[in-house]
Amino acid sequence: MFRGVGTLRLVHPATRFPSIEFRSIMAAMMQDAAPDIETNERPALAAGTFIAFVKQDCPTCVLAMPALREIDELAARSGGKLEVHVQDDVTFAKGFSHASDDSALAASYRYSIDTVPTLIRLRDGQEEARVVGWRRSEWQAITGIPALGDGLPEHRPGCGSKTMDPGMPVRLKVKYGNTGLASRRITVPALSDPVETCYERGWSDGLPVVPPTEERVLEMLDGTTRAPQEIIGRIPPNYAECTVEKVAINAVMAGCRPEYMPVVLTAVEAALMPAFGLHGVLATTNACTPVVMVNGPIARAIGMNAKGNVFGQGNRANAAIGRTLQLVVRNVGGGRPGEIDRSVFGSPAKYSFCFAEDEDDPRWESYAVSLGYSPDASTVTIFPGDGISQIIDHVSRRPEDLCRSYAGCIRAIYGTGHIIGVQAFLAIAREHAIVFYDAGWSKARVREELLELLKIPVREVAPGRAGLTGLTAEEKSDPDNLVPKFKNGTFNIIRAGGYAGKYSAIIPSIGGRGSIEPVTREIR
């Protein structure tokens, strides 16, 4: 049917020219062809080369094929050209003058096709018009064939191009485009397992890493608007420059999703703040490691765990974000155990220690809010920690009693007389928090009570640098003088953990004011 009509139009194109309305569409869509319409001298097929992208697995493409055949026939007669690129099965375009198998999607990528069918008109190699999906009037306008597709529906939306299949855009970018990635390419030896290659290269913390392919790294970089070559800072111990791209590579290896990137980048930046003293945390013989705590809406948005098993396994964001920071230090900074990392025991926390503070109960303000950040701000706090030590108290129902339980445990950190270079975060789980809530105690009140209980008689303070050396002559003048457990260390309280069970937990660490301190940075 279409072919017959097409033939008539080819012979007498002007006689079949219809309404003013059509001409107005033509004028709008084919500016340079409009004069031809007015003079009735236009060719049956608009000048130029046509390129169509289709796939058999697309009902709209199937619907539009007769129209494409009509264009092909007219092109053959008028010296024009129609190339039909088929994304799945090239036999779909059997019989066309110029059918092309584009299952590798090279042409589709080159022309940035996101929908099929797409029809493009080129003039002197330059694209001058394209139509997407099937809209009869548009196809008529771009081809200049007035009755093209008569009898077909006026409009059918197209289908997704195979270039848009899940994971395909980055694959095509790596295959045909310019990724802009600057990192050295490492070729996995033939027949080798890429995961084993990562081990052999020394990139792993001991657990398998996700092989950082260009495709995965590109996807990871989609999680940030920051330029891949932006320098985040210099990572100790080698103080090597670390770019956003290097962070993304390590984030891939650690198991991150792209949406974790803002947290990951801020965590790296925070860990590099001078007050945190990352070099010291890494190099010390102690067990401490950077602990990552996230506050604010982003923690909920990316599904971080603040509740049951909060410091444990099983949550991807918690695990992967903390692990990324460790891998960045290892791989970019060159901080490896047995080398600059001189820890005697280390800690499981050195694989990853990352969590969100539980902000669901408004009765206590979050750590970040207590620092002056808005509840709507998302922040990353980095503090040193060895791991956790649990406090069990199923009995106390009064805040004073609970604080006495806490104080006994906290006092024992590194030794009951150890007061210099010791600090801690105390994580209070919900059932314990309720004791304080019910009594109307704020976080600050609990902290004050504990600091009071944690005053230690000088006679019980340890000799040497853990204690007595750090005291003034006046403090040492009377063995009954009281000195604080956290003589130069920080002490903070946070809310975290499961809702069933009367527990709290201490996260102890070395360090203190002026050496290794908690730092907080807003995610922007």
Partner: protein, 93 residues
């Protein structure tokens, strides 16, 4: 997804190995800096060195970092470099 090409997660340019400065044949006439990194009892070791060196007529200058967990600031390194010919640094406890 093909996994035969990986991106290097490291700094790639590990700090270039720098040759050690040539050691002097003698310390005679040299100004010797003693850098205390602020680790416990490092001062005892350096005090003794100071005593021995000064006793033999050498010029000794003393320096101290604020805290051992942090690198020596650039200003301190420049000061030592400009004031001394040699430096002894007391590491660890």
């Amino acid at each position: 997804m093909p996994e035969n090409i990986l991106l290097d997660p490291t700094a790639e340019t590990a700090p270039a190995m720098q040759p050690r400065l040539v050691r002097p044949q003698s310390i005679a006439g040299k100004t010797i800096g003693l850098l205390d990194i602020a680790k416990m009892r490092g001062d005892e070791f350096l005090d003794r060195l100071d005593e021995l060196l000064t006793g033999r007529g050498h010029v000794v200058k003393r320096y101290r970092k604020k805290h051992f967990a942090h690198l020596a600031p650039l200003e301190l390194k420049q000061q030592i470099k400009s004031e001394c010919d040699l430096v002894v640094e007391g590491l660890a406890d």
